[in-house]
């Protein structure tokens, strides 16, 4: 089923997930448009990671649908996943491979031809100046460098949708800025990104819209001016808005 031009990059349609009868995510519906970065924020245990795992196919939804560029993830998992790039919060990379080998493996999994991925890998390595360590076993990498390789692996096949879980944890400030610019450039080229993060200043800088998840439910969403309007705080930062809406030390 080819994606229709009008389809958003991501549509969650009344998505729910229960663990042993206990709801982790309830009736979640949201859309991430083309060229849009959507920040999903919320306290620990609010259902962000469960949502991400349902979108990436690691969890099966109890109810509802995940549509990536209009393709139903459950009905056509391989087609849908081909359009998806995922940056996890804890990037395990096979320790007995070099970073370059890992990127080639990721390219092979997503069907990127060898000449194309070889060229892309060189380009991507330059982004974070990782060329010097690309041929060393991953077991010798720092957490930040593993995170960088995970980011590069998610971009290698030129996905249309990025699912990003805590994108800058473990990165040095310079790399965090590069990552921010990378995500912005991705969105400007027409891609959509769902970003789960506790780093509210980062979300404020890069996200066009923000959704607040609490106890598995999306309690509100909108761009920053809309959220400020709802809170009645015209100049508030996202952090202040978050505290207001979650009833924690509201100013």
């Amino acid at each position: 089923m080819p994606p229709a031009d009008a389809d958003p990059r991501l549509r969650l349609d009344q998505l729910s997930k229960q663990f042993g009868g206990r709801p982790a995510v309830e009736d979640l519906s949201l859309e991430v448009g083309r060229g849009e970065m959507y920040g999903l924020i919320g306290p620990n245990g609010s259902g962000k990671t469960t949502t991400v795992k349902m979108i990436t196919g690691l969890y099966q939804p109890t109810a509802g649908r995940v549509l990536i560029d209009g393709i139903d993830l459950r009905a056509h998992p391989e087609q849908a996943k081909r359009l998806l790039g995922y940056i996890p919060d804890e990037p395990f990379i096979y320790e007995k491979m070099s970073g370059r080998e890992f990127l080639h493996l990721a390219g092979e999994l997503f069907g990127v031809a060898v000449p194309e991925r070889t060229r892309r890998i060189e380009e991507l390595l330059d982004l974070y100046t990782l060329g010097a360590i690309a041929d060393i076993y991953v077991e010798n990498y720092s957490r930040g460098n593993r995170q960088k390789f995970a980011i590069l692996a998610s971009l290698l096949h030129s996905p249309r949708l990025l699912i990003v879980d805590e994108p800058i944890v473990g990165l040095d400030p310079e790399s965090a800025i590069k990552t921010r610019d990378l995500l912005k450039a991705f969105a400007e080229s027409g891609g959509g990104a769902l970003i789960c993060t506790h780093s509210l200043s980062f979300a404020e800088q890069v996200c066009h819209r923000v959704g607040l998840l609490k106890e598995g439910r999306l309690i509100l969403e909108g761009d920053l001016p809309t959220l400020r309007g709802l809170a009645g705080l015209p100049n508030a930062s996202l952090e202040a808005l978050y505290l207001r809406f979650t009833d924690r030390h509201a100013p």
């Binding site: 995922y86 996890p88 007995k96 493996l105």
Partner: protein, 563 residues
């Protein structure tokens, strides 16, 4: 040493917590494993006891034969224990994942040395208990000994463990120092090759009896009050460090005059000397070697070492997403010295077992169909046991271990059932390539008929594919994606189910193999339909298990979650 004891006791606390919390399922798994090991020990006792009874029935040469068996058995256990210690020790002493952390604490290198020695000893000494206790019980029972014998034998067993441990530490430290500039994988492989080669040479020279040796063993003369046969055997083995312990055990069981004052003193002196050498020279080598090797944990790598390895395009040999994942598995195994060492050790045990078939004086027994059938059946069961051991340690956990890389694997457009089939094919092929020639060599020693050899080869292929399918399917039906330790995965309830399923299947195939041989020799017909019938039974059983495993895996994949 309080810190060392605290670190060691943390291993026991998990078990203590389990017992305290009374988690039914886990306790049941432990209980069944204890029961399985108990059954193995009972079976070993029965085999040892029956063998000794047959030896005693031979009359006069029984004493000399018992001593020869004890000497050979002791050497075999010592060799296996020392190689196992060195292969494991080169990892635990130098490459344990918590070494960088412990080096950053006030723990001294001496304390770390003893901690690693104790950990390695605990990991590698259990075969002494599994093999030693049934052997001692059988020996005491055969020679109708009282409780005093068992007490003395237990002391000898403990001294034997000390001897093997001390020798293992010393050789591990020597190997670590000699190969410190090599990659861990190369160092462990070189050390293993040297030890296996050296021991194979010495065992071939001293342990395997020639026709002339048998003549001397059966020599009835008793010059100077001591049988000539005993003198010959004592002289033959006196250079082996296990000799004083074996002869002391023999003298204790038979209440004979075997051994000398020197050998009786050596029972205590040798283990003491081995431990003393380990504690002085070994410790000194560790203190010199570890700091340099530990730098390899960091980014820069040890001076002269080669941290870089993976260069260029991946996959190199296979193609497509599934091919890339299979190559990743094989590359991961090949680049991990610890995993490679364990796989090589299982293969080494199979080689050792097959070598015994060649050196054992069974030629005259091979004209009896019942004996050939029994030995071939035993061979099939032994090969099936090694396949199960390998499958449990490497194939069964491979599904759960995918959980670590789930973010890239399960989020990619790779058909998981295709990956299951590829793993089934790849592991079966690797095992057939490794185990096939060794097992066929063993079979060639027992049978020469092309029909029986063909049947054996077919049964071997069935054993391999079915064992791998069962391991993969059970691993997929009860995965634990949070666990990253393959050994802990192998000893959970899924691992237990895998053992029971595989060993039950192996026993049935062993019985079918035995029946095939019996009917082959019994009918002497041009078209041996009965052989085909029994082998066909194995084909049907194997096909049913593989089909069932594959269907169950397919159903499971549809609702698989990486929890």
């Amino acid at each position: 040493m309080t810190a060392v004891l605290t670190l060691l006791l943390r291993h026991g606390r998990a078990l203590a917590k389990l017992m305290r919390d009374r988690e039914g399922a886990k306790l049941a798994v432990i209980g069944v494993f204890v029961l399985l090991f108990g059954l193995v020990m009972i079976a070993e006792y029965a085999v040892f006891r029956r063998g000794l009874a047959e030896v005693l029935d031979m009359g006069a040469p029984a004493g000399a034969l018992t001593l020869y068996i004890l000497e050979s058995f002791s050497i075999l256990v010592l060799v296996i224990a020392v190689i196992s210690f060195v292969v494991t020790g080169l990892w635990t002493f130098y490459r344990s994942s918590d070494t960088p952390f412990l080096l950053a604490t006030p723990l001294s290198l001496t304390q770390l040395f003893w901690l690693r020695a104790a950990e390695t000893f605990a990991l590698t000494s259990w075969p002494f208990v599994i093999l030693g206790i049934p052997a001692i019980l059988a020996l005491g029972s055969a020679y109708r000994q009282s409780a005093g014998f068992y007490g003395r034998a237990l002391v000898i067993l403990i001294l034997f463990m000390a001897l093997a441990g001390g020798t293992g530490i010393l050789l591990t430290m020597l190997a670590g120092a000699a190969f410190r500039r090599y990659r861990a994988r190369t160092g462990i492989l070189l050390a293993t090759a040297i030890l296996v080669g050296g021991f194979a040479f010495l065992v071939g020279r001293h342990v395997i009896p020639s026709a002339g040796d048998f003549y001397l063993i059966f020599e009835p003369g008793i010059p100077n009050g001591k049988p000539a046969s005993l003198k010959f055997i004592e002289k033959r083995f006196w250079l082996w460090p296990s000799h004083p312990l074996a002869v002391s055990l023999y003298a204790s069981a038979t209440e004979s005059s075997a051994g000398s004052e020197a050998s009786r003193a050596a029972v205590w002196l040798l283990p003491g000397a081995a431990l003393a050498a380990a504690g002085t020279l070994g410790r000194r080598l560790f203190r010199i070697t570890l700091p340099g090797m530990a730098e390899g944990f960091g980014f820069s790598g040890a001076p002269g070492s080669r941290a870089a390895a993976g260069v260029g395009v991946f996959p190199r040999f296979l193609s497509g997403p599934i091919g890339a994942l299979v190559e990743r598995d094989l590359v991961g195994l090949g680049r991990s010295p610890q995993e490679l060492g364990r796989a090589a050790f299982i293969a080494f045990l199979l080689v050792l077992y097959t070598a015994i078939l060649f050196v054992a004086p069974i030629s005259e027994l091979l004209d009896k169909p019942e004996t050939v059938a029994r030995l071939l059946s035993l061979d099939l069961v032994a090969v099936g046991y090694f396949l199960t051991a390998f499958g449990l340690r490497f194939v069964f956990p491979s599904v759960s271990l995918e959980g670590r890389g789930a973010w890239i694997l399960f989020a990619s457009p790779v058909p998981i059932f295709g990956l299951f089939l590829a793993k089934l094919f790849a592991y079966s092929a690797v095992l057939l390539v490794v185990v096939g020639p060794i097992a066929l060599a063993g079979a060639l020693r027992l049978i020469s008929s092309p029909l029986l050899l063909g049947a054996f080869a077919l049964l071997l292929a069935l054993l391999t594919v079915t064992t791998v399918a069962a391991c993969l399917a059970v691993g997929l039906l009860w995965p634990n994606f949070k666990e990253t330790n393959a050994e802990r995965l192998a000893t959970n309830s899924g691992g237990l189910a895998t053992i029971i399923l595989c060993l039950g299947y192996v026993a049935v195939v062993g019985w079918l193999g035995r029946q095939s041989v019996l009917t082959f020799f019994g009918m002497e017909a041009a078209l041996p339909y009965s052989v085909v019938l029994y082998v066909g039974g194995a084909v049907v059983l194997s096909a049913a298990i593989v089909a069932g495993a594959t269907a169950a895996a397919r159903r499971r994949i549809k609702r698989l979650e990486i929890v």
